[in-house]
Amino acid sequence: MASHEHDPTNRRDFLTMAGLGFAAVGGAATLWPFVHQMNPDASTQALASVEIDVKGVKEGQAITVMWRGKPVFIRNRTKAEIEQAAKVQIAELRDDRARNDKLPDATTATDANRVVKGRENWLVLVGVCTHLGCVPKGQSLSDAKGDFGGWFCPCHGSHYDMSGRIRKGPAPRNLEVPPYEFVGDSKIKIG
């Protein structure tokens, strides 16, 4: 064994390493507030839930509301539209996950998994294209609705179906279903 004098790691090396280590931890701890200040602040997070009365939305109509600075599509689907969305096979879908914030990640993207049971006519979606964040067309009757009758994003050409699922174009995921629940007969609470 090497004698103490020739030991390559001596007290000074240890002190240097320990000193640098403390400086690094201290530096990182000081940096964190300057990074974290850019995250959504308390007032932004406080706006995280809204209640919407949907009594006036007739079958076949849709409204757009704001939630967390994003548009949310609320659509009262017709029977034909529900049937059309329900009969699509999972294998036909580009993204087979339900993307329903209330359900686990692995849930499959059946139409039933994207709505509330017993209220299948109501489809609630975050109206933000999962490609680069544009608002897809399809809310008003005169809009282009794309090849699958749901929504069409004009920015880069993504087509969504009657369940808000991506069917064609560059978007990677189905439109997000936000966490929401029915409070009373005609009120939806999002968030």
């Binding site: 850019m38 548009p71 490609h131 004009p154 990677p172």
Partner: protein, 426 residues
């Protein structure tokens, strides 16, 4: 150039006092007055000075605009209109700043293609070139942030689309994007921080420019022959020879600049940006400013989100590696009979991508975008390494002086004759 000594002579007592303590006049004299510049520089070498002019113009007009601009979602759009209508000469200063951004990019593209044509990225100028790529990146970021500040529809949706690039990052993408936004979408919070960053980045660019010029003055300028400077005969003092040429080119450039400012200030913008930002309605056809169109075409050429974003960033990043991708023994494309054709094909590709980026992403536009995107990358990854190896360069002149003065220029007498000869005459 490294090894070049300033011929500065401190004349007054004050100058001598300073020269012993902070010899800044000596340095400036050495770097910008008697600095040896190749005697054959053509007008493509005037864009460095022009770009300096652009940077200063943007800084001065930008600082003035910041005195009148209000970075809040409620007031931003109106304050820009107020600058144009109410602020004394606000219309002029705003137009200079808005047109100035386009002119800055016009000049930087000519500067970059000059470098690509004459092999200015080759040894010993690799670091100089890479600093240039960083400046270009910082310019892109600054221009994007500045365009957002107007808070029109294109500002808002451009900001949304571009910040969403980061949501393509696997796993942490959404978190990163929300961190950039300071919320769950682009809002006034985002606008406020973009304003702060738009004010900051030009000073970062200024710092990078100082390093860029420093690196330039260590290696010395490249020149149309691509030959190294071998003797004093090859160079002329920067002042007045290169400076005079710079001033004339700048005058021509500024003429174009003010023509836009006074006659068609909105020509390079987009009409949709005169509608105030609306988070509920996306304009039917989102296009970026003209200087980003080729990259936008590359983004849309790929039918996958992550792939498109990666390829678009790669299109800029690949520029940093050309010093090593180009295997040619000679620098200047002037002496490269095969590569010359590919260079112009590459130039055409960039222009074509620019055109395609302005068109909707459908039908044949997509197919052509894919073809040109493929060539964009093939040019760097295949053409540059392979052509350099197989090509026989044309005969090079023996020296820079010979390329200007002919093969039979004399010794001492030639030096005098050369000093009066036009540097651009070949």
């Amino acid at each position: 150039m490294s090894g070049h000594e300033s011929t500065y002579v401190a004349k007054s007592r004050f100058a001598k006092f300073m020269d012993d303590r902070l010899p800044i006049a000596r340095m400036m004299h050495g770097q910008f007055v008697d600095f040896p510049t190749p005697r054959n520089l053509n007008y493509m070498w005037t864009f460095g000075g022009i770009l300096m002019f652009c940077l200063v113009t943007q800084l001065v007009t930008g600082i003035v605009l910041a005195m009148h601009y209000v970075p809040s979602a409620k007031d931003a759009f109106d304050s820009v209109e107020a600058i144009r209508r109410d602020v004394n000469y606000g219309w002029l200063i705003r137009n200079i700043h808005a047109v100035g951004a386009s002119m800055f990019f016009l000049a930087v593209y000519l500067h970059i293609f000059r470098g690509l044509y004459y092999g200015s990225y080759k040894a010993p100028r690799e670091v100089l070139w890479i600093l240039g790529v960083f400046i270009y990146l910082a310019m892109m970021a600054t221009a994007f942030l500045g365009y957002t500040l107007v808070w029109g529809q294109m500002s808002f949706w451009g900001a949304t689309v571009i910040t969403n690039f980061f949501s393509a990052i696997p796993v942490v993408g959404t978190k990163v994007t929300e961190w950039l936004w300071g919320g769950y979408a682009v809002t006034g919070v985002t606008l406020n921080r973009f304003f702060a960053l738009h004010y900051l980045l030009p000073f970062v660019i200024t710092g990078l420019v100082v390093l860029h010029i420093w690196a330039l003055h260590v290696a010395g300028q490249n020149n149309p022959t691509g030959l190294d400077v071998k003797s004093k005969m090859d160079t002329l003092p920067m002042t007045p020879y290169a400076v005079m040429k710079d001033i004339f080119a700048l005058a021509v450039f500024v003429t174009l600049f003010v023509w836009f400012v006074f006659f068609v200030p909105d020509y390079l913008g987009h009409a949709d940006n005169y509608n105030e930002a609306n988070a509920l309605v996306t304009p039917p056809h989102i296009v970026p400013e003209w200087y980003f169109l080729p990259f936008y075409a590359i983004l849309r050429a790929v039918p996958s989100k992550l792939g498109g974003v990666l390829l678009m960033f790669a299109a800029v990043a690949i520029l940093a590696f050309v010093s090593w991708l180009d295997t040619s023994r000679v620098r200047s494309t002037k002496y490269r009979p095969i590569y010359r054709w590919f260079f112009w094909l590459f130039t055409f590709t960039c222009l074509a991508l620019g055109y395609l980026g302005s068109k909707p992403a459908e039908g044949w536009y997509v197919v052509w975008s894919q073809i040109f995107t493929a060539y964009y990358f093939l040019h760097f990854l295949v053409v540059m390494p392979v052509v350099g190896l197989i090509e026989t360069p044309k005969k090079l002149p023996r020296s820079i002086a010979e390329s200007v003065l002919g093969a039979n220029y004399g010794g001492g007498a030639g030096a005098m004759a050369g000093a009066t000869a036009a540097p651009e005459k070949r």
